[in-house]
Symmetry: C2
Subunit: 236 residues, 2 copies
């Protein structure tokens, strides 16, 4: 399948590498490909320069957001949550009618809060939107012709693409998806099966994105307690 991954951060790289390995025709989108390739310093999350990553993953084209989205059948949004609505709205024409998988958490870093939550990596970011709306729904409202599926968001993207890296290697933990279009969810479910997931739970329409995004704080707390990779399995 022709798949675009928008964004060159750690999550986007994980998906692009895995999709390429699986034989999909993947293109990575970035705001300014020349600028992305010219960078020689790690990004703000500490990822090595993109051209260094690309040297280890040859054969994955880099294009503008618009060109990558235009050529794709399915698009994975790896643009950071705070910029996602604005950046994706600019791609309305290229995304129209397509499946857009969103895995972003709408974190606001360096929040000025009365009761900061200190963490091993600084103060816990806050979420905006939260509780009575979600980033997934905001994207869907901004792009009514796009089939938005919220997925991947409850895990590190490294383990989304390699679920068997968690636990004893049988990959038996749960991936959650939500969205308003059944065919779009079916396409994402198939992609997840390609990634190695066996337990994929459909949480219904995009309202469930609220719960999926708000799980971020619980996920962080579990991560601080355990260290290392983990997943959650719904026991029924």
């Amino acid at each position: 399948m022709k798949i675009a991954v928008l964004g060159t951060g750690g999550g986007g790289r994980a998906h692009a590498a895995k999709l390429h390995e699986l034989g999909h025709q993947v293109t990575v989108g970035t705001r300014d490909p020349e600028a992305t390739l010219a960078r020689t310093e790690p990004d703000m999350m500490g990822n090595p320069p993109y051209r260094q990553w690309l040297a280890d993953h040859p054969g994955i084209p880099l294009a503008t957001f618009a060109d990558a989205a235009a050529a794709a059948e399915l698009v994975i949004n790896g643009i950071d949550g705070h910029n996602a609505v604005r950046a994706l709205t600019a791609l309305a024409d290229q995304l129209a009618g397509k499946v857009l998988v969103d895995y972003a958490v709408p974190f606001i870093y360096n929040p000025d809060t009365e009761h900061p939550w200190p963490t091993p990596w600084g103060v816990m970011p806050r979420l905006d939107p939260v509780d009575i709306d979600s980033l997934g729904e905001q994207i869907q409202r901004a792009l009514p012709d796009v089939k938005v599926v919220k997925a991947f968001v409850t895990q590190e993207q490294d383990t989304v693409v390699s679920p068997r890296a968690v636990g004893d290697g049988d990959g038996d933990h749960t991936m959650f998806i939500a969205g308003n279009d059944a065919d779009a969810k079916q396409a994402v479910t198939q992609l997840l099966k390609n990634y190695g997931w066996s337990d994929i739970l459909d949480l219904g329409d995009l309202h469930a994105a609220r719960g999926m995004e708000m799980y971020a704080h619980m996920h962080s707390a579990i991560g601080f307690a355990l260290g290392g990779h983990f997943g959650i399995k719904v026991i029924r």
Copy 2:
């Protein structure tokens, strides 16, 4: 152990019945015992009148919040989230120095929101506090001499007291606790082992209550998708 359960709702009843069955000396606290016993209609959550429940669970004394808390070594807060800080603050003297387990979700029902989330039981309530504070932390700040432990909140209370009612009966799913006092968490961990829990994960200090309370929307979405009892297991 002498344990007080504050509140006569479904959660309080589940804990009181189980604690009594386990041989603890349990007292249920309510605002006005005579009024509670006089009621002949189901409560707002549809629970049968308390005196009907009491007839099926003889030997569990009902007392005022203050008398129940004063006599107890460990107190379980089953007062609904929206009233908990005010009601518990009035019990500061009776609770001082004791372990207080809080499992409330600070739901506000009938929220007036721009994008309501319709659910099988009405519009999804909103949370207050959320994201940058939690009910658990509010209670701890209001009662600095009390050892607050957030626990139980990620499950229906019926399955908190009977973890083996979930899944294939081995009870192998995860219970989360958080709190600022290690001894208090140890006491609650022991109580949870009495209930049948084997996987109890300490998420650290009370800041983690934010994640535990905000998991409520994810828990609801999973419940809508599956129906019936479920739990989550952290796979590491």
